[in-house]
Structure formats: structure tokens, C-alpha cells
């Protein structure tokens, strides 16, 4: 029923905006072959179907793309990236925000993703929660956040586990497979992919409501610390638009991402992400919530 309503909504949006023929400049914030740009490419197809004229501009990387977006003075500029996390990190080191448009009318849509706890295939994942462990835990969140997680883990399980840093989720999986580390907290897209390939076992997620076939980590570890439920929020930002355009675009793009048959919707499902069906006001609230959680983790 919900899907049908969304489909009708989506079709309606297509018909409304197709006549508009409005132009937007999309900054592709991410590496050329990366997950973000693959999603952006699908979103562009949907937006063009919806009648928008999309001028895609390379953004090089997330940070570079965010900076370009913030510095551009054209009309209707759009970017998709984890702005709440990036801006919290910027504040922590006292530099300018990567994304400087965080008013209600700037938020277009949101996608949430989580991390999953994985061990090498053939290993019992439940043993990592035992007390008195001396495990190597692979993390990819930056030194400060990595340490917070492992310290908390050790406190809860009364263990002396060690944190091993990585700079990509692929290397975390490789670390598991080659025996460098015993357990890792890795993004769900990788967890899903390599679970399917039989290389790793992943049963628990930071998603407090379960999802992608994984159980909540917070319940398993039996600890109410916010880090076990931390969300990664990806946001679509729009700037230099009038209020009407912003409202309309928010509706169109939110319908697109929540439509499981759209190109972007399929990509979201494949990545193990969760599309949010939120108003601009609620998106701003969500931005603030994740910003605060990230700041807390960084302190």
C-alpha cells in the first residue's frame, strides 16, 4: 500500500516537474568511481526523467565537492554528502564548514546507513562479546572515534581488546580475511557484499531497529551508549533557490529516493542504505542530531 502511494506520488511529481524544465547544477562530491558518485549518476537519470536539466560537475572528493558547493554562486546548486559529520569534524579542528548551507530550505533529502559487526567466515561472532577478550578490532572512523568505540567495548565486556586503524572498508574486510584482525565494524554495503561471497559473517548492526537482516548491536552488547546506535547520515543540500523551487525539489527528490523502482531507489537498496521520508524541517532536525552525536564522539 505504502509503495503504491509512493508510486502515485512519484508519477505525480514527474508530471508536475516535467513541464517545469528547471535547471540545477549538481556537484559530484566523491571519488570518480566511488559509491557516492555511483548513486549521483542514478539520481541524475531520475531527475532528468522528472524533467530537470542537470548540469553535473565533478567534485573530486567529498571535501573538495563540499567546498565547491559552498563557494558556488550559481542558481540551484545541489550536492549530496554526509554534511553533518563533515561539519562536526570541521568544528572540532576549528575550520570553515565544508557545507555552509544548513537552513531548513537547504535540505532536500536524507539517506541513513549503518555499520555492521563482522568476523571472518567460520568464526563464531558471539565470542567477541565474551569477557576477558584480547581481540584486534579493525576500525575506520578516525583515531578519536575508533578509540572511543574500543574503550567502550572493553569497558562493557571487561576486555583488553586492541584497536587497529584502517583507511577504507575494503581493507577492513581484507584485514579480517587475512587474519590481521579478529573483528571489525564495517559499513553495511561491504558487510552485505562479502557476506554473500562467504568471506565474512556479519550478524549485528548499529541500526537500532534491525535491518538488512542484521540484529541491533546495542541490544546484543546490552549497553545504552549512543555510539552503538550511531547513524551515518547522507544529505542532499540545495542552495541559491527560491522557496517554491526548494519545496518542489524536496518533494520530487524525496519521492524518487523512496521509490524502490527508481534508479536511485534501486541503488539505495543495493548499498544497504535507508531512504528517509522526511520534511525539510525534520531533515534539519536529523542533521542537528547527527551533528551533535558526531561532536560527542569526537570530544
Amino acid at each position: 500500500m505504502k509503495i503504491n502511494i509512493l508510486l502515485i506520488m512519484f508519477a505525480f511529481m514527474l508530471s508536475v516537474s516535467a513541464s517545469a524544465g528547471e535547471k540545477i547544477t549538481m556537484i559530484l562530491a566523491g571519488s570518480p568511481g566511488g559509491t557516492f558518485n555511483a548513486f549521483n549518476a542514478e539520481l541524475i537519470k531520475d531527475l532528468e526523467k522528472a524533467g530537470y536539466e542537470v548540469d553535473a560537475q565533478p567534485g573530486g572528493s567529498m571535501i573538495k565537492g563540499g567546498q565547491i558547493y559552498s563557494g558556488l554562486n550559481k542558481e540551484n546548486v545541489f550536492v549530496f554528502l554526509p554534511s553533518s559529520q563533515l561539519n562536526a569534524e570541521d568544528d572540532f579542528v576549528d575550520r570553515e564548514h565544508t557545507v555552509n548551507t544548513t537552513e531548513k530550505h537547504n535540505f532536500m533529502f536524507g539517506v541513513v546507513n549503518y555499520k555492521s559487526l563482522c568476523v571472518k567466515s567460520g568464526t563464531d561472532l558471539n565470542t567477541v562479546f565474551n569477557t576477558g577478550n584480547l581481540l584486534k578490532i579493525g576500525m575506520n572512523e578516525g583515531e578519536r572515534i575508533n578509540d572511543k568505540y574500543v574503550e567502550r567495548w572493553n569497558k562493557v565486556t571487561k576486555s583488553k581488546n586492541i584497536m587497529v586503524p584502517y583507511n577504507s572498508s575494503g581493507k577492513q574486510i581484507k584485514g579480517l580475511v587475512t587474519g590481521d584482525i579478529d573483528v571489525t565494524l564495517v559499513n553495511e554495503a561491504k558487510a552485505l557484499r562479502f557476506s554473500k561471497e562467504g568471506l565474512v559473517t556479519c550478524n549485528y548492526t548499529t541500526n537500532p531497529n534491525s535491518g538488512n537482516g542484521f540484529d541491533p548491536l546495542a541490544s546484543k552488547i546490552n549497553d545504552s551508549w549512543f555510539g552503538w546506535k550511531y547513524e551515518y547520515l547522507l544529505l542532499g543540500h540545495l542552495k541559491n533557490s527560491d522557496t517554491e523551487f526548494s519545496k518542489r525539489f524536496h518533494k520530487v527528490v524525496t519521492a524518487i529516493i523512496n521509490d524502490p523502482t527508481s534508479n536511485a531507489g534501486k541503488k539505495i537498496a543495493k548499498n544497504g542504505w535507508f531512504a528517509q521520508d522526511l520534511s525539510q524541517k525534520d531533515l534539519k532536525k536529523k542533521y542537528k542530531k547527527v551533528y551533535k552525536a558526531t561532536s560527542k564522539l569526537l570530544k
Binding site: 573538495k64 565547491i68 583515531e143 575508533n146 587497529v164 584502517y166 583507511n167 575494503g170 574486510i173 587475512t178
Partner: protein, 443 residues
């Protein structure tokens, strides 16, 4: 991974051109093709690159034999022996011996992969941080011990490469950076392309342009009745193919080392057993080892993400940007099958190009040589700036190119590749050592 013949053919053509470019070959081909490569799928890039590398080994011996200039650094024995034979009126026999050796090298590589491919896949499961640390430390020691002209090359060049390699995001944790002094444009690090073109390629092209072909021989059409191969030479080529494959697999051992050690070994064997056809045997040994090593030299990159030469470093950059995962997560049976297909096709194609068609390619090179270096220099600068523009880092690319070109011209008589090698290997070295320190709970 399915074979895409279009990219194998394009790669083979690129390999012919790359192989015939004196001393700079495949690296410059990779840079010139950069805008095309970044737009391709990972499978297509691999097929194009591997075909090019394999065919370039065949083509390198053509310019070495006819004009006494090494297309690739590994073609130096081809100058000594091949050009020596050509001066004695045996150019066709020299060309044939080179092509035959390279062909056997390719076929033996194919057999080794067929026999040991499965074992290699199992071995990849054990290539962990401890192994990486051992391996990269070995590479560092090996690079450091290579003979140098003076103390500047010995100590200062590695240090410069090491420091430059540290600039940017920290190798083990991409939430921090080193030596960027608050400049966010430096977070992506010093661009390898700008550094390599400025420091090494442009100064080398100016030297090559000044010292164009001086010594040459008459190029005659390839005739089958002028060539021959003896049975014991066939046995020799199989031995050197196996030797080349396994020696080149050791990271830090370049094809120049493979080719030159095979050449020296055969020279000693000739003397000890008083073998006839000394020059032919030496040439055969070097060319066979060289071509079988051309594939195995890629294995450290495929297994660990550790580039061991400059063209691999460019490939590594492109694949990393495409989120490619090196090692056990990508190197599987289907990858080996793809390699096998490429080896078969390029071995036959390379034999044809570097054998019967060698005289045509030689004539073409002689006619175009006076333009080639200038044209290449212009293309390289334009591609570098274009890449800088596309990655939104043009000022850093431009500055790197300018500064390193000035330094490169000043140091043009030194082996500046030492700086580049250390620059390339440093992130892998630091990343693995730091990770090991974390694993041992030292940090």
C-alpha cells in the same frame, strides 16, 4: 571477468608505441591515455594495461636492434647483442630471436599460471600486514642498496621521495593528514603525475630530442629464409622464462634487473660450455626472461596494492580512485582466466609485430623520431594539466609540474627515478608499519 577484444587490441597498439619510446615507454603511454583510462571500467583498464605491457616487451627490442636505443630499460641487452648482430648484417635473425624469446616467455608464463594459479589464490589469503611489512621493508632495503653515483643519490634522493610521499592524508587513517600545513588542497598529496612528468619525463625527453638516432643500420624486409633457431636454444628460452617469472615477482626487482641478470648469466654459461652463437644466446636469455617477468612483475600490485614501477603507480592511482580492492578480494579464478586469455592473444600478436612486421615499425620510428619527443612532451603537459583541472586541484598540479621540472632539469644527469620510487612506496611502507605497531599495541 570476460575478455573484451577491443581493449586488448587498443592495449596492444599502445604497447607497440610505448615499447618503441626510448626509456620512457609505458609510463608515458599511461599518462597520455589517462583521460581515457579514468572513463573505463576496471576490467577494461586491466585488459588494456596488461596487453600493452606484454606487447611493449616485444616492441622494445625493435628500436634497440635497429637504432641502438633502449625502448624500455630492460632492452639494454638487446642493444649490446641485437644491435651488435644487426651491424654484422644479421638484423633479421636478431629480431626473430628477440620475438621468439618473448613468445616463449609469454607461453611459459601461461603454463605457470595454469599450474600454480590455484596455489596463488590460496597464498593471497595469507598476505597480511606482517607479510606486507616484511615485503615492503625488503623493497626499501633493495632500493636503497642499488648502486648510485654519489651520496646525494644514495641518501638525499630516498629521503626526498620519502618526505614527499608522506604529504597528504595519513596512510593508515584518512581522517588525519601530515605535512599539509593547513592547506586543504594538499590533503590529496603531491600528484604523482605532476611529479613524474616534471622531475623525470620532460627532462628525459629533452635529452632524447637532442641525441636523436646517430647510429643506424639498413632496414630490410623480414625474410623467413634468413632466420633459424636451434633446439638447445629452445631449452635455454624455457629456462630463462621460468627464471624471469619468479625473479620479477620479487617486489623491487625491475625488468631491467631481470633482463640484465639473465644476459650476464648466459654470458657465463656460454663461456663455461663454449657454446656457439654467443650473441644469439645472450639475446634470447634476456628477451625471454624479460617477457615472462612482464606479467609476474604485476603480481605485487595485484596481491598487495604495491606498485613496483612508475606505470603501475599510475594504474594504481586510477584503480584506487575507482575503489578497486587489491588482493584476495579481487584476485580470483576469473581474473586468472582473463590473464591467461590476454597472454595467449598478446604472445601471438607480439610475435607478429616484433617479427615479420618489425622492419615496418622500424622505418616508421626512424621517420617520425624528430617530432615524437616534442609532441610527446606537449601531450604530457596537457594531460597533466587536464587531470589537475578535472580533479579540481589545478594549482597543485601546475606548481608541482613547474617546480619539479626545474629540479629535474638541474638533476638530469642523476637517477631521479630513485626519488619517484621512494615516493611511490612510502605510503604502503608507512601504512603497514603503523598498522603493525597498532596490532602489537605499541601505539
Amino acid at each position: 571477468m570476460e575478455l573484451d577484444y577491443t581493449f586488448i587490441v587498443i592495449g596492444s597498439l599502445a604497447g607497440v608505441i610505448g615499447g618503441m619510446m626510448p626509456g620512457v615507454g609505458m609510463t608515458l603511454m599511461m599518462i597520455s591515455a589517462y583521460p581515457l583510462l579514468v572513463s573505463l571500467e576496471v576490467e577494461q583498464i586491466f585488459q588494456l594495461y596488461i596487453s600493452a605491457i606484454l606487447v611493449s616487451q616485444f616492441a622494445g627490442s625493435i628500436v634497440a636492434t635497429y637504432f641502438a636505443i633502449p625502448g624500455e630499460m630492460s632492452s639494454v641487452p638487446a642493444i649490446i647483442e641485437g644491435h651488435g648482430m644487426a651491424k654484422q648484417g644479421k638484423a633479421n635473425q636478431a629480431i626473430f630471436i628477440s620475438a621468439f624469446g618473448s613468445f616463449v616467455g609469454g607461453i611459459v608464463t601461461l603454463l605457470i599460471l595454469l599450474l600454480f594459479g590455484g596455489l596463488l589464490l590460496k597464498a593471497f589469503l595469507h598476505f597480511n600486514t606482517v607479510f606486507n611489512v616484511f615485503l615492503v621493508s625488503l623493497v626499501f632495503v633493495f632500493l636503497f642498496l642499488l648502486p648510485t653515483k654519489n651520496k646525494m643519490e644514495k641518501f638525499l634522493f630516498p629521503l626526498a621521495g620519502f618526505v614527499l610521499g608522506l604529504i597528504g592524508t595519513t596512510p593508515h587513517d584518512n581522517h588525519n593528514s601530515w605535512l599539509t600545513f593547513g592547506v586543504r588542497d594538499l590533503e590529496a598529496g603531491i600528484p604523482l603525475m605532476g611529479l613524474m612528468i616534471g622531475l623525470y619525463s620532460l627532462p628525459l625527453l629533452t635529452i632524447l630530442h637532442k641525441n636523436r638516432i646517430k647510429e643506424t643500420i639498413k632496414i630490410t624486409a623480414f625474410k623467413f629464409n634468413q632466420i633459424s633457431i636451434k633446439l638447445y636454444q629452445f631449452g635455454l628460452s624455457i629456462f630463462y622464462a621460468v627464471y624471469g617469472f619468479f625473479l620479477a615477482f620479487v617486489p623491487g626487482v625491475g625488468l631491467d634487473v631481470v633482463s640484465n641478470t639473465a644476459h650476464k648469466m648466459q654470458e657465463a654459461v656460454n663461456k663455461k660450455f663454449k657454446l656457439p652463437d654467443r650473441m644469439e644466446n645472450n639475446l634470447l636469455a634476456a628477451e625471454t626472461a624479460n617477457n615472462s617477468g612482464a606479467l609476474s612483475i604485476m603480481l605485487p600490485l595485484l596481491a598487495f596494492g604495491l606498485p613496483t614501477n612508475t606505470s603501475q603507480a599510475i594504474l594504481n592511482n586510477i584503480l584506487t580512485d575507482k575503489n578497486y580492492l587489491f588482493g584476495v578480494l579481487s584476485f580470483n579464478q576469473s581474473f586468472i582466466d582473463m590473464l591467461l586469455g590476454i597472454v595467449v592473444i598478446t604472445s601471438f600478436l607480439g610475435f607478429l609485430l616484433a617479427g615479420p612486421l618489425a622492419s615496418l615499425l622500424g622505418l616508421f620510428f626512424r621517420k617520425t623520431e624528430k617530432f615524437i619527443y616534442v609532441a610527446l612532451g606537449i601531450v604530457l603537459v596537457l594531460v597533466t594539466l587536464y587531470t589537475g583541472h578535472n580533479s579540481l586541484n589545478l594549482p597543485v598540479y601546475l606548481l608541482t609540474l613547474l617546480i619539479t621540472f626545474i629540479i629535474g632539469m638541474y638533476l638530469r644527469n642523476y637517477n631521479v627515478l630513485r626519488i619517484i620510487y621512494f615516493f611511490m612506496v612510502t605510503p604502503f611502507f608507512v601504512e603497514n608499519w603503523l598498522r603493525l605497531a597498532f596490532m602489537l599495541d605499541i601505539l
